[in-house]
Symmetry: C2
Subunit: 417 residues, 2 copies
């Protein structure tokens, strides 16, 4: 019999005190035990995954979706290593970020505490079950996991392994709660539990994220899409710009930090574009350009307005020649998704203007957009990339799962003596 | 003719670039000019306020509400000074909070940028129009103000004065937008403009805040209520505890950081409670206590469960004798509102346990709850107090109206060379 959602959510809330109170050493030991238990359950998890795969295939699920769903021994080993990696992260909880003595001798500290209960809403990838649980727990939070129905057997097997570790460490099983009722109305109920859920993080396609935003009453941090731009300035080093373009577009086109649009200063276009387009084509990239691009490389297809707003997630790129830096900025402001933008330039003033004029989560000078990732930017691990300009903006690590509060110590001060 | 809401909101969004780009000196000059213009418009603002007051009186508005609504010359002078105070704050925009060089020599910085467009939703107090605008602008944001219909003439007169300062400084008038259509459906439309509004901050009664939370699709930071506790530990200094109690309960009972509940360790109760209750009664405070309290002071009224959850905002206090520190913590966890809690104790271990076990926004040791205020805690000015455990928790100053993003500088690094 399934426990009703609210009852399970309240158990999750009750579990927050124990995990919030654990010291760093205990949390690390817990995570290693979670890794051990998952490694020991590999066969069981693979069996469960096979059931999910069989059902998915019978339902005519796409090859891309099946690839996200499937587990094998190396993938499980990777998940186990990822949990151990989280255990090496600095503990954000209890960190004193500021300390000030006020004129009346009150000592005011800002101290990081866990958020409380985090609801992860995700789709096919079963590794999220372990990744998200590990990071939430390291930051002292309880987690409610609501994965896709396609991955339910896999997610259940993984969550059960992790829960065995919780119990072995004397923690409530409800510190990690997997919602096995994957009906949409149950998800909506979860997203409206304002007295339980402190933050919901949806991870998946735009449809899921829009659905979560529509129905949530609890705070949501989301990432809609990554329409990442490379702007090749007049003062760019052409060979460096080409390297950034190739890496950004082709090293992994299906991810959110891949490039989707190339903007080129008109003074650089004649030299840069023919070579760049030829190289991209060798690598199988389809080019869609504006008239100026097509004047330089006549057989390029014509780019539409939709192309400039598109997250292709594929070997396709939109190209546009712009009059100057300001035109590049205006283009990105109009079509961008606030994810990641790159300028290639040797002109420091142009770089500074690009950085200051854009309010994207990550702005890069002479570096590949593919570095827009929690691991690459030094967060150690990542629970998602926020394009919500609140709380956390850009890659979110363990610290983004905490908040600063005030601790005040006095000697009997009163406001109206 | 009223401009339709969406058109005005888009103008606000378009205005964000100019205010975000202003340097500190220019923002300070702008704020002083806003103060000048408001001071110069005092007569006009007072006339407008008189119209609001006449209408409110004709509608039978309560005396408390009228007191919030009314302006006079000293109150306007106070608003003018408050704007100038905001101009003295440190500028949070552009602050580099962290800088790290990665193993591949990428330099990764976290830099504060404005949130963008902030929607303030408030009720009768016209000073919020100026206070909120000043703080939002100092943090580089555009602001959309939606005040109560009762204060519309006052708010309009204030906003027009501030907008004259904007125009004199060459900034778009839409940097400060006052919504003059105060119908609820227009507020709902505003709260669902996810492509414009980066943050909504409701300030007012619980009804308004619940309405905003119900209907918002944009992020909301809210403050429901302040059920603040003073726990008098066994190891408290009784005279200090009494000072904290009197200041917390009686110095301004109508505000959110006033005390609502007194918890007393049973070993301290016999000495502390009779004196404390007698003193509170001298000051006109009504006492509602549990059986143990009534055993010590027989003529105390009996406290109900509702009393322990109540934000009285009045000269009333709920009192309870608890078995020990853990019982005090359990009581606060059950009835508290995550706003502000105080422990009076000379026992450091007890203080530490109290601080760590509670996850309220502000936890104080031996200091009055009335210090739970942006100005008192060193934020300079305050746009509200968040009990949402996300982004900002506790008093929110200018910094809480910004977010950290990533700026990455490289020399051509790629992820898959």
């Amino acid at each position: 019999m399934t426990t009703p959602l609210r009852e399970r959510a309240l158990a999750s809330r009750d579990a927050t005190a124990a995990i919030a109170a654990l010291d760093t050493t205990s949390k690390r030991r817990l995570l290693h035990r979670m890794a051990d238990e998952l490694a020991a359950s590999a066969t069981h998890v693979l069996d469960a995954n096979e059931r999910d795969m069989d059902a998915a295939k019978a339902n005519g699920t796409s090859a891309a979706m099946l690839d996200r769903l499937v587990l094998d021994a190396p993938r499980i080993a990777k998940i186990v290593v990822a949990i151990r990696d989280v255990a090496t992260l600095p503990d954000p909880v209890g960190v004193v970020t500021r300390r000030e003595t006020r004129p009346n001798d009150l000592v005011v500290e800002r101290v990081r505490i866990p958020l409380g209960v985090i609801a992860m809403i995700y789709e096919a990838r079963p590794n999220v079950t372990a990744d998200a649980a590990a990071l939430c727990l390291m930051a002292g939070n309880a987690v409610i996991l609501r994965g896709g129905s396609d991955a339910l057997h896999s997610n259940t097997a993984i969550a059960e392994a992790l829960q065995r570790a919780l119990m072995a460490e004397g923690l409530p099983e409800a510190t990690i709660t997997l919602i096995d009722d994957t009906r949409r109305e149950t998800m909506v109920e979860l997203l409206q539990l304002t007295d339980v859920v402190d933050l919901a993080i949806p991870r998946g396609g735009e449809g899921l994220i829009r659905f979560v935003t529509e129905h949530a009453r609890v705070p949501v941090i989301k990432h809609y899409k990554g329409v990442c731009h490379l702007y090749v300035d007049r003062a760019a080093d052409p060979s460096m710009a080409l390297r950034l373009l190739v890496d950004g577009k082709t090293s992994r086109p299906g991810v959110c930090n891949a490039l989707e649009t190339l903007l080129v200063h008109r003074d650089a276009a004649a030299v840069f574009l023919p070579t760049a387009i030829a190289r991209l084509r060798e690598l199988g990239v389809e080019i869609r350009g504006d008239d100026a691009t097509r004047a330089l490389v006549p057989d390029v297809a014509s780019a539409t307005d939709d192309d400039y707003a598109a997250e292709f997630l594929d070997l396709v790129i939109a190209v546009r020649v712009v009059d100057d830096l300001e035109a590049a900025i205006a283009h990105i402001r109009r079509y961008g998704s606030d994810h990641t933008e790159v300028i290639a330039t040797q002109d420091e003033a142009a770089a500074d203007r690009f950085v200051h004029a854009l309010r994207s989560a990550v702005v890069m000078v002479n570096a590949s957009s593919r570095f827009s990732d929690g691991g690459e930017l030094g967060l150690g691990s990542e629970i998602g990339i926020s394009t919500t300009r609140l709380h956390a903006y850009g890659p979110m690590g363990a610290e983004a799962l905490t908040v600063e509060r005030f601790v005040v110590r006095g000697t009997g001060q009163v406001r109206h003596p």
